[in-house]
Subunit: 202 residues, 2 copies
DNA sequence: TGCCTTTCCGACCGGTCGTGCTAATATCCG
DNA sequence: CGGATATTAGCACGACCGGTCGGAAAGGCA
């Protein structure tokens, strides 16, 4: 790995930490350069525009999410256990990936819900991919008989994301100590409501 | 109403529209002054600080939400119908209040989830008050026999907010045409899961 | 070693930010 | 009408923003 790639990695690590704390609009060049011990222009040369820096940071955050949150769940048995593991790690994923602050993707949703541009498009695609992962896990859990046959993976994913959002609101914003308990209760309800008859009797 | 109060109202109307489009950090003085046909300093004199402007805008948005979203539901019969009406109007409330863009409170959640300050505190209190309204509606619906006895209002409110959040994500950010249908399906599931036995058999 | 390329710094640009003043103007009351 | 007061304009400040440029320094390869 050449020198350029090494400092670029250093920058992106600092950038994703900043994004967790201040969002993608908060990825200002000067403070970021100070954080990695560089000049603003030196940092800028690696990306060419702030937008490119945002996209690169987004990409790097997605890699972190994949390797630190989704991939580790593959040690769990296929089906519902794997889905549960992903959800649990997802709830406080920045922390599980060694990052400070909150989920940068949620910040991006608010920052880029209007208008358009490459950052928004990339973020939409990331969410789409992740939703597809969830839907596959749901379909797998259904095939394993952990969820009722006929469960709609898309609907399930929609409601799962709802729970993750509400958790962010209750835990990080409202700072409600009961947030985690409420979220887990809701998750159990969601799974239980779509559980097959046999599992409900158990 | 004196001249001052009149222009102040004009400013706040423009401010809440801006907040729907750009959040509370996006409440910049110069563009806002241009929008109402004033000078930046002339506008500034009404509030004394940007933070005070943000708080005032928040307060005004809360009034709008109360009068345009919550209050109209009181024409519905008490209990579940009233709750359903609030939820429906809540889903696209800026539009129902004649505002452009998206829910400014959700933008505020992301902008003020870290740190502290008067704006954040005010927003937390607004959410707490609204959650209390939801809980009262749930309790009322339970008393009317529309929801199962023993329904936890706090848990119900948590899950209802989850649905509202997911709707924002799917509808405004992902721009998924199926968003509204998924949200309504989830709402029906939420109500149905806590419906009393008699209603379930019907 | 010598040389070319990558990498980085430092100074600087035009703009915009929030925030203070002063001065002029409009409004309201007696 | 006149004078006190509330309101707004004009102007400037320091700080920060993203972005540009030339040249110095270091890396990498022959």
């Amino acid at each position: 790995m050449g020198k350029g790639a090494r400092t670029r990695a250093t920058i992106l690590q600092a950038a994703v930490e900043t994004a967790c704390l201040a969002g993608f609009e908060g990825l200002n060049l000067q403070p970021l350069a100070d954080k990695v011990g560089m000049t603003k222009s030196g940092l800028y040369a690696h990306f060419g525009s702030k937008e490119a820096l945002q996209v690169a940071t987004l990409e790097y955050a997605a890699e972190l999410f994949q390797t630190r949150i989704v991939a580790p769940a593959k040690t769990e048995p296929a089906g519902l256990p794997r889905l549960e593991r992903v959800f649990e790690r997802w709830l406080d994923w920045p922390q599980n990936a060694g990052l400070p602050g909150n989920c940068p993707f949620f910040a991006g949703v608010v920052e880029f819900d209007d208008g358009q541009g490459p950052v928004r498009e990339r973020l939409v695609r990331l969410f789409r991919d992740f939703r597809a992962v969830i839907e596959q896990l749901v379909a797998s859990a259904t095939r394993h008989g952990h969820l009722a046959a006929g469960t709609d993976p898309a609907q399930f994913a929609h409601e799962l994301l709802a729970l993750r959002y509400a958790h962010h609101w209750a835990h990080h914003f409202m700072r409600d100590p009961l947030a985690l308990a409420r979220t887990r209760t809701a998750f159990a309800k969601l799974v239980g409501a779509t559980a097959p008859r046999a599992a409900q009797r158990a």
